[in-house]
Amino acid sequence: MKRRGCKIISRHFIAKYPFTLEAQTWLKERKIDLDDLVREEYRIVLERGKERVLSALEEGVVSLGLDDPEAEFLSFPVARLIVEVVGDPFLRHRFAVAEAKRAQGLFRNEDDDTLIAIATQTFGINCKFARKDIGGRRYPFKIHFADYLRYASGFHDPYWKLVNRVLSGGYVFLVKEDFTRILASAVEKKLSEPREPPVKVPSEVKQIVSEIAIRVIDKREKYAFEKVEGEIVEEAFPPCIAALVSALRRSQSLSHNARFTLTSFLLNVGYPVEKVISLFSEVPDFKEDLTRYQVEHIAGMKSGTRYTPPKCETMRTYGLCLSREECGNVKHPLEYYRKHRRRHMKEAES
C-alpha cells in the first residue's frame, strides 16, 4: 500500500482500475516481469488475462473479478500483452471497447473525488468540480471544451454535439453519467493505441496468442458477412442516398454528416474504397489524401471498426432525410436498400 497525496492507493483500487497511473507505478515498484507471470503460482493470472481478451472478442464485454484483487490487476497487463502480440487492429479495438465498458460500470458507483483524480492524473484531462444546478438538474463536473471534444466528438448522438451542451468560461458542464462516459472514452482511446510487442514472448503466452488469433479470424468473418453481398443495385438506393449521389455528380460539396452517411452506405453495399474516392473527386474542394484517409477510416481499415450509415431517425436530425412515402416503415437506409434490392432482383429474374 502506498500513500499518494491524501489518497490511499489500495489493492482494491488498482484491481478496479488497472489502467491508471497508480496501477502502473505499483507494477513498476513490485518489479514483476513477464517471466514471473508464467510461473505456476501466477497461473490464475494468465488464465484471467486470456479470459479478458476472449470475452472482449466474443461478447464485447469484460466481467469483474474483484474477489482476487491481485489476479484481477495483474491479468490486465497480461491481456494487453496478448492483444499486442496478436497484433490485430480489430481485436485491439474490441478489447479497448470492452475494457472501457467494464471501467464505466465501476465509474458509475465511484465517488466524485476519485473520478476527478483519475481524469486528471491518468488522462491529463482538464476538469473540475462544478457543483452547479442548471434547469433543475445537478451538474457535479465540468471539463475543458478541448478535452470534451477530444473524447466526445466521435459520439454520433446529437445529444453529445457541443452545441447541445452547456458551455461557459471554457468548460462544458456534465452530469455524472456523462462524465463517466467521457472517462470511459479516454480509457478506450488509451487502449486503442498500438504498442510495440516485446521481442521475447514466453511460450505459454504464445500458445494463448495462436488460439486467440484463430478466433479473431472467425469473428471478423462473421462481421464482414453482415454486409449486403452481391451485385450493387443503384436503383434500390433509398431517396436520401440517391439525392447525395446525384449532388456529388453535380459537383456539389456535401456537409460532413452527408459525406459520412454516403461513404458508409456505399462501402456497406459493396463499393470498393477506390470507387468511393473517385466519386468524391468530382467535388471542387476534393483533396485526395484527406478523402482517402476518411474513406479508409470509415471502411474500418484503420481501426477495425467498420461504420454503418446513421439510422433514419438520426438522418432526420441531420436534415438529410427526405421522408418519402416509398420508405414506409423502414428504420435504416440499409434496410431500405436490402428490401428494394430483393424486389429489384426478383423483377429482373421474372
Binding site: P158, L162, V163, S168, G169, G170, Y318
Partner: protein
C-alpha cells in the same frame, strides 16, 4: 493602348509599389515561423506558389522584397517539414484555431448596389453575388467585380465583436491575450487563437466548434425547452435569458425574434400562423416572462410553435463564420502585415482595445503620394477623411492608396 498593355503596365506599377512597401516595412512573421508553410501569388500569374519555408524573419523579408508578391499566406498549421510538397510528408504537428468573418458571407443590402457579375462567355451582367451559371447562356465562367464599402466592413466588424464577446471569451473562455485580430485587407477580419491547449484539435473537433458558433445541429430540448407532464396536464419548460451558453442565448434569441416580428412578417406556414398572431398581440409581456424562464403564458402556443421560433432565433443570434477556414487544419491564411493584392490594403493586425475605432479606409492604407489614373467606372468611396467618385470614364488625380485600390480592383489603369 491595348488591354494587354494596360494590364502589364498596371502590374509593373503595382509590383514596384508593393516592393517599395516591403523595402520600407518589416513584416511580422507568425509564431514558430520555421514550422509554417508559406504560399504566395504573383502579379500576372493566376496560381499560388506553395510549400515554401523560411527559417528566420530576414529570409522572408528578402523574399518579399525580391519577388514582390501580390498576396502572401502562411499555414495556420505547424509542420516538421513545412516545405515538403506532399501533405503526408510535411508531418502535421498542430494548428492555430483560426476564424474568418467575411462580408462575402454576410447579408448586406449594399452588395446588390456595388457588386456585379459578368458572364465571360456571353457578356451578360447583373448586380449582386454571381449566379452559379449564367441565366442567359448557362456557362459557368463568370467573373465577379466586388467592392468594399462602409456597410460591408461595419457589418463584418459587428459580427467580429459578437464572435469575440459572445462566443470566444464568454463561452469558450479564451482570454483576450490569446487571440489576435487581423483586418483581412479586403472585406473581413481573421481571428488567430494560438492557445497551446487547442493546437492538436482535429478537424472533427474544429467542426464542432464551428457548429457551436453557428448553432448548427442545435436542438432546443437539450437546452431545456421541453414539454413535461404534470399529472394530467402538459406544461412547458424553458431556459431563462441569463443562463450560461446557448441556454440563455436561445431565450434571448427567441425574445429578439418575437420583438422584431409584426403582423406583416408572420410566416405563412399554417401550423404557426395563428399561434404567432395570438402571441404577437401581447409580445412585450410574453418577452418579459420568457426572460424569466416562463414559457407557457400563451394558450395555444405549444412546443411546436416554440421550436419553430427557436429555429429562427438560432439563425438570428448564431455567429456567421466561414466554416472551411476554421475546420481545415491545413489551410493557408493571409500573412499579417503583408499587402492584399485585391485592394493594396495592409493585412492589418488590430489590437482589441482599438477595434471599435479601427477604420480600414484609414488605418490599413499602405501608400503615400498621388497618382493620376484613368477610371473606367467606380462607385463613391472614402479614403482617409476624403470622399471620391463616383467616376465614369475619366482621368483623375487621387491619393496613391485610392489609386492603387481602383487599379487592384480592375476599375482603372495608369495614365500616360
Amino acid at each position: 493602348m491595348s488591354l494587354n498593355d494596360r494590364q502589364t503596365k498596371n502590374e509593373v506599377f503595382l509590383k514596384n509599389l508593393f516592393r517599395k512597401y516591403y523595402q520600407e516595412n518589416k513584416v511580422e512573421p507568425p509564431s514558430s515561423m520555421e514550422k509554417r508553410e508559406f504560399g504566395f501569388m504573383f502579379f500576372g500569374a493566376q496560381t499560388m506558389v506553395r510549400h515554401l519555408a523560411f527559417s528566420e524573419p530576414e529570409s522572408l523579408q528578402r523574399f518579399l522584397v525580391s519577388r514582390a508578391p501580390s498576396n502572401a499566406f502562411h499555414s495556420a498549421a505547424y509542420y516538421a517539414k513545412p516545405d515538403a510538397t506532399r501533405m503526408d510528408e510535411k508531418v502535421w504537428e498542430g494548428c492555430d484555431l483560426v476564424f474568418d468573418i467575411d462580408a462575402d458571407h454576410l447579408k448586406t443590402s449594399c452588395k446588390e448596389v456595388h457588386d456585379k457579375w459578368i458572364c465571360q462567355h456571353c457578356g451578360q451582367s447583373g448586380p449582386g453575388k454571381k449566379p452559379e451559371k449564367c441565366p442567359v447562356c448557362g456557362e459557368q465562367n463568370i467573373e465577379e467585380k466586388t467592392w468594399l464599402c462602409e456597410e460591408c466592413l461595419e457589418t463584418a466588424k459587428d459580427e467580429l465583436t459578437k464572435l469575440i464577446e459572445d462566443y470566444l471569451t464568454a463561452d469558450f473562455g479564451i482570454s483576450t491575450d490569446e487571440l489576435k485580430v487581423v483586418f483581412s485587407g479586403h472585406r473581413g477580419y481573421h481571428v488567430h487563437v494560438t492557445s497551446e491547449a487547442l493546437l492538436d484539435l482535429d478537424q472533427n473537433a474544429r467542426r464542432e466548434i464551428v457548429d457551436y458558433i453557428k448553432g448548427v445541429g442545435l436542438e432546443p430540448r437539450y437546452h431545456g425547452l421541453v414539454e413535461a407532464r404534470d399529472g394530467r396536464s402538459k406544461i412547458l419548460r424553458g431556459p431563462r435569458a441569463n443562463e450560461d451558453g446557448w441556454r440563455g442565448r436561445l431565450t434571448r434569441g427567441v425574445v429578439k425574434t418575437i420583438l422584431s416580428m409584426d403582423e406583416s412578417s408572420i410566416p405563412q406556414e399554417r401550423k404557426v400562423k395563428n399561434a404567432l398572431r395570438v402571441l404577437l398581440k401581447d409580445k412585450d409581456k410574453v418577452a418579459d416572462s420568457l426572460r424569466e424562464g416562463v414559457w407557457d403564458t400563451v394558450r395555444g402556443v405549444g412546443i411546436d410553435v416554440w421550436g419553430y421560433i427557436a429555429r429562427l432565433a438560432v439563425e438570428k443570434v448564431g455567429g456567421r463564420i466561414d466554416e472551411p477556414v476554421t475546420a481545415d487544419i491545413r489551410r493557408l491564411i493571409r500573412l499579417p502585415t503583408s499587402l492584399h493584392g485585391k485592394t493594396g490594403f495592409k493585412v492589418c493586425p488590430v489590437p482589441l482595445r482599438e477595434l471599435s475605432s479601427f477604420d480600414p479606409f484609414k488605418h490599413a492604407l499602405a501608400f503615400r503620394g498621388e497618382a493620376t489614373i484613368h477610371v473606367d467606372e467606380a462607385p463613391k468611396f472614402r479614403v482617409g477623411e476624403e470622399e471620391f467618385g463616383p467616376f465614369k470614364d475619366e482621368d483623375v488625380e487621387l491619393p496613391l492608396s485610392a489609386a492603387v485600390l481602383l487599379i487592384c480592383k480592375g476599375f482603372a489603369y495608369l495614365r500616360g
